[in-house]
């Protein structure tokens, strides 16, 4: 009888732990989801005003500038329909290039400038980050639609 009670309480304790764990996991999961937006969507105000998100597209040709402090860089990301200003402090990845695909993660700062804390660039000649490709496709689809109407 005693053994059975012991077993029951252990199982109950196990279940309670399991429930707590599940709650904690889902909480942590929800608060760490990072959503992706194209420059067009950001322009329309669909991106969160506070909190992190990702943007993607092409680095606009001739837009890469180094700010006077020597550490921050500024460039524009375009999905060919809309562009947006991005500021990044730190060292850009080796494969970051103007005219190539890029994905940046960060927050929307003052004056609508995107303050990136992470920049991901393409990894080989042919490779385009799926997010960047999706942004370009969305923009070109929108144009096509506008054209036919």
């Amino acid at each position: 009888m005693k053994a059975r009670h012991k077993r029951f309480s252990l199982i109950a304790a196990g279940l309670i732990l399991l429930v707590i764990a599940t709650v904690l996991i889902t909480q942590s999961f929800k608060s760490n989801l990072v959503f992706f937006f194209t420059p067009t969507q950001v322009e329309k105000g669909q991106a969160p005003k506070t909190g992190s998100f990702r943007i993607g597209g092409l680095v606009e040709n001739g837009s890469l500038k180094r700010l006077p402090d020597g550490l921050r860089v500024q460039f524009r990301v375009t999905d060919t329909a809309k562009t947006m200003q991005v500021i990044y402090k730190g060292i850009l990845p080796d494969l970051f290039k103007e005219g190539k695909g890029v994905v940046a993660e960060g927050k929307l700062g003052a004056a609508g400038i995107f303050e990136a804390d992470q920049v991901l660039a393409k990894h080989d000649e042919n490779y385009m980050p799926p997010e960047a490709a999706a942004a370009l496709k969305a923009a070109s689809d929108a144009k096509m639609k506008a054209g036919t109407m």
Binding site: F35, F36, G70, I91, L95, H123, E125, Y127, P130
Partner: protein, 666 residues
């Protein structure tokens, strides 16, 4: 000519795989020994032809045959010879050939080392391996042919991605794949047992060494990859929770659970159904990893430009293999039986808790990895899961498991007593608590994460030592001489001891580097000095140097401490003209206590550079811990009882049984 031989060999290998995967099963089913006995020769021929294909392709790399499309796109005449040979797995097609080659190698090993297994079981085992091989060979031949010709031939190749031109490229992929694919053997053992409807202690004893070998390779492969990322990517990180890293980590977690569950099945004839399920899961996760890496659905260091058809093929294959295995499991598992019962407080229950923890950890990683892909596939938008999720959830799940790790090995099989375990662990508890306060005190900063981390590291380490001490004490009456005493303890025990110590070392490394690392982004002119802690980093300027296939700006930094030179570092910024790409090569002065890490950003005006400097305390302990875990695995493999098993089966002597028994007593 050579590439055609390779291609043709691959097709022959495919034919033999079909023979190996089908006829023997029919033979066993219909009791036709003629058909059944085809298994071994077919498997060996399959391996032979895969080997010919592999060598042909590498030969094409060796002689710079740019009329082969794959060679032209991943190699270059200027590439150093070591990287030419390794470039074979530098792209999609060759990686898949490597996958298939590893599978061939494992199958070959099974035909050689599984001599002692009962005939029908062995035949089924090899047939299942053949079936796995059919799918992958078909994938290579029909969607990813590495021998495709390029006409007219390219004048020179497009070069291997500079990121991959590193000694890590030579070791990381083959070792990792060896581990990844190695779980196919455990999988085949499980399927063969389900087909047999019989699963006992002997089965577990056969399966164990195979699983351990795969696990050792996977451990080393992941550790190499992490080390490589650390120095090559130039960001000073060693683990990014990148989907591809997760893809290799999930089979590792489940594989670790499997190793422990197999121990219970072998020792106590318990956890049977669970062990089978883990064997299936470990390999399924390996396949899932292959899908993630090879289908191009991810933004990752490992992603190549790929063809979506390939993704669909692997996905279908995944569904067939995993679905088939699970169906078979559902149908046959009741025949296998649950196994022996055990008390709530016993080593079995501790190991069960270990398994639950590891599987839950793998599950949380799976959720974070797959959720974004699922949402994307359902058209619900593009989402990514941030590393903080993985950090928080993974640590929270693993911490109680690591605590139990201290108790488990001290608990008795079947029924243990908590007060007794507690009494044995008093010393360990005292050591761990004191260290968890003392270490942050010495390092100069206290945080909850560090206290918990250091506690767990010392807890795992000290309980392992106490376990060893107990073992020696219990034997000291019979063998008073300490050296003889230590020599008499089976290697399997030392294997566990070393692997567990490795976990302790690993946790300590992770905790201290997370807790005390420092990072600075600076703009440095020539002769500028950056002061970090009590170290002075002086930038002496850069010079241009020429490598075999690149040109480099090499910086010089001298590091001094109280006026005395500590290290000279030469980080580089390399330019590879063939792909027109730039690569950062960080320079690191590694140390037991800390690594000094400098990488060059970009040239600014007047010889100044943007520079990143890191101090990484105890970071090397992370990989040292992983190496210890692998060493522990090797040690366990060298145990007498795995050799004794063959002797016992062939001679029927009692001696093997005796040795095996000794190896388990604890």
């Amino acid at each position: 000519m050579i590439p055609e031989i390779g291609h043709f060999s691959l097709i022959l290998a495919f034919c033999f795989a079909i023979v190996q995967g089908t006829l023997p099963l029919i033979g066993v089913w219909q009791h036709k020994p003629m058909l059944a006995n085809v298994a071994v020769p077919a498997a060996r021929l399959q391996f032979l032809f895969i080997a010919i294909a592999f060598i042909s392709l590498d030969y094409s790399f060796y002689v710079d045959d740019f009329s082969v499309l794959y060679v032209a796109s991943t190699s270059n005449s200027q590439l150093p010879i070591m990287y030419k040979l390794a470039a074979i797995w530098g792209g999609h097609e060759g990686s898949m050939l490597l996958w298939v080659s590893m599978l061939g190698l494992w199958t070959m090993a099974v035909t050689i080392y599984a001599e002692a297994l009962p005939q029908t079981f062995k035949i089924r085992l090899i047939a299942v391996m053949g079936m796995v091989s059919i799918g992958f060979l078909a994938f290579v031949i029909f969607t990813s042919n590495p021998f495709e010709r390029l006409i007219p031939a390219a004048l020179d190749g497009r070069d291997l991605n500079p990121l991959l031109q590193d000694p890590g490229m030579v070791f990381h992929p083959p070792v990792l794949y060896m581990g990844y694919v190695g779980f196919s053997v455990a999988f085949a053992f499980a399927i063969a047992a389900l087909l047999d409807g019989k699963l006992d202690i002997t089965w577990a004893r056969w399966t164990r060494p195979w699983t351990t070998v795969a696990w050792v390779f996977l451990t080393l492969g992941i550790a190499f990859g992490s080390k490589w990322a650390y120095y090559e990517l130039g960001w000073g990180g060693w683990w990014f929770w990148d989907a591809v890293e997760n893809a290799s980590f999930m089979p590792w977690l489940v594989g670790t659970a499997l190793i422990h569950s197999l121990a219970v099945t072998e020792k106590r004839d318990a956890f049977k159904v669970w062990t089978v399920l883990l064997s299936i899961s470990a390999f399924s996760l390996s396949l899932l990893g292959t899908f993630l890496v090879r289908s191009g659905v991810l933004t990752s260091v490992h992603a190549f430009a790929t063809d979506p058809r390939r993704g669909v093929f692997i996905l279908l294959y995944l569904v067939v293999v995993i679905g088939g295995a699970l169906l078979l499991f559902a149908w046959r598992a009741p025949k296998v039986g649950l196994g022996e019962k055990f008390d709530v407080v016993s080593r079995e229950s501790m190991l069960l808790a270990n398994n639950v923890v590891l599987v839950a950890a793998a599950g949380s990683v799976l959720l974070g990895t797959m959720y974004p892909l699922l949402m994307d596939a359902l058209g619900a938008g593009k989402i990514s899961v941030g590393p903080p999720y993985f950090d928080a959830v993974f640590v929270a799940i693993m911490a109680p498991g690591l605590f139990l790790m201290g108790l488990g090995p001290l608990a008795k099989w079947k029924k243990a007593s908590l007060p007794e375990i507690g009494a044995r662990l008093k010393v360990a508890a005292v050591i761990s608590v004191i260290s968890s306060v003392l270490v942050p005190f010495i390092m100069g900063k206290m945080s909850l994460m560090v206290v918990v981390g250091v506690f767990l590291a010392f807890w795992v380490g000290s309980t392992s030592l106490i376990l060893l001490a107990n073992r020696v004490k219990s034997r000291s009456a019979a063998t008073p001489n300490l050296v003889d005493n230590l020599k008499g303890i089976p290697l399997a025990f030392y294997g566990m001891f070393i692997a567990h110590l490795g976990i302790g070392v690993f946790i300590l490394g992770v905790t201290l580097v997370k807790g005390y690392e420092s990072e600075q982004d600076l703009r440095m002119e020539i002769n500028d000095v950056a002061k970090i802690g009590n170290l002075n980093f002086t930038f002496e300027g850069t010079q241009t140097i020429k490598g075999p296939n690149y040109e480099s700006q090499q910086g010089t930094f001298t590091v001094t401490k109280n006026g005395k030179a500590v290290a000279v570092l030469h980080p580089e910024k390399r330019f590879y003209p063939v792909q027109g790409s730039v690569m950062t090569e960080a320079d690191i002065s590694p140390g037991v206590i800390k690594d000094l890490y400098v990488s060059l950003g970009e040239p600014l005006e007047k010889g100044a550079w943007s520079v990143r400097i890191y101090i990484k305390p105890f970071v090397q302990w992370i990989w040292a811990g992983a190496i210890l875990m692998a060493l522990g695995g090797f040690c366990a493999l060298a145990d007498k009882r795995y050799r004794a098993r063959n002797k016992k089966l062939s001679q029927g002597s009692k001696e093997g049984e005796q040795e095996a028994h000794e190896a388990f007593a604890s």
